[in-house]
């Protein structure tokens, strides 16, 4: 997915620690689902410290598994796996577009609704991007943008974050993660999807507490 081009934030705003962590996770997932991570990214994902007893949540367990896999896999191998899982020949074996899970087909009404909401929130599509806005990487990156804000816009209120997550992610991302984990050629990405699933679950629970 090399056509995706970043529009970086000019100046990060001060955000709460937990929100920065959430944004970092969304950024990481957006990256991992948009392309095969390179060796530098993989190296960054390798945990060097010993796990503590406190860190025993499902999220952390899934992270450890992903980290362990990151220590032994190579970028070249992941390019092949990414192609095998998300590109394929003809129809992608695993589809990572929300419209497919919500309407049964890609480029359907859910995508139109997502585009309407993005426009209403002031988002502008990058003309150089091939993938539609309902790609898993794209909606993760929208969440990152909502959490952090940018130079022109303050971070979105939790209510707005929740509304976007519950309308445009929650109804399908768990099915998508399950599809990735269930695909026979998914190895490293099985762990990525498991981590994503646990993270989305955490987000879902946290939103229930807030609002």
């Amino acid at each position: 997915m090399t056509a995706i081009q970043a529009i970086a934030f000019d100046q990060p705003r001060m955000v709460a620690v937990e929100d920065q962590v959430r944004a970092d996770f969304y950024a990481l997932l957006a990256h991992l689902f948009s392309r095969a991570p390179d060796d530098r990214v993989l190296q960054s994902m390798v945990i060097t410290q010993e796990p503590t007893d406190e860190a025993s949540t499902e999220l952390t367990k899934s992270w450890r598994a992903l980290s362990a896999a990151s220590a032994v896999v190579t970028h070249d191998a992941l390019i092949d796996e990414y192609e095998a899982v998300f590109v394929g020949v003809g129809r992608p074996p695993v589809i990572v577009y929300g419209s497919f899970y919500l309407a049964g087909f890609m480029m359907e009404k859910p995508l139109a609704e997502l585009r309407d909401d993005l426009a209403r929130m002031g988002f502008v599509r990058n003309a150089e991007v091939r993938e539609s806005e309902d790609h898993l990487a794209a909606v993760c990156d929208v969440m990152r943008a909502l959490i952090l804000g940018n130079l022109a816009d303050a971070p979105a209120a939790i209510e707005s974050q929740k509304a976007f997550f519950e309308k445009h992610m929650k109804p399908w991302v768990f099915k998508c993660c399950a599809a990735v984990q269930g695909y026979e050629k998914s190895n490293y990405y099985r762990r990525v999807a498991n981590f994503a699933e646990q993270f989305f679950e955490m987000e879902s629970q946290a939103f229930e507490m807030q609002c």
Partner: protein
């Protein structure tokens, strides 16, 4: 659950509890590492808040047809 208990539970579900939940869930390894990774990877934003893309900016600068060196060269080569 009676109304009094409901009230107590609702009060406990404050933003602080949400914060504690998030911090607890990410405690240990994932948060710090994700931050390190996040700093090294480029965002894959397909959209950005109110920011025009370079292509859109170029489009706004366009003033319609105008002669360029490339066009002049074409006219030269096409002259009968």
């Amino acid at each position: 659950m009676n109304e009094a208990n409901k009230s107590v539970n609702m009060k406990t579900e404050t933003p602080n509890n949400r914060r504690n939940f998030l911090l607890g869930a990410t405690l240990g390894t994932a948060g710090a590492v994700a931050a390190a990774v996040s700093a090294t990877v480029a965002p894959v934003v397909v959209v950005a808040n109110g920011a025009a893309t370079p292509a859109e900016k170029d489009a706004k600068k366009s003033k319609g047809y105008h002669v360029t060196a490339h066009i002049e060269q074409y006219y030269e080569t096409a002259r009968m």
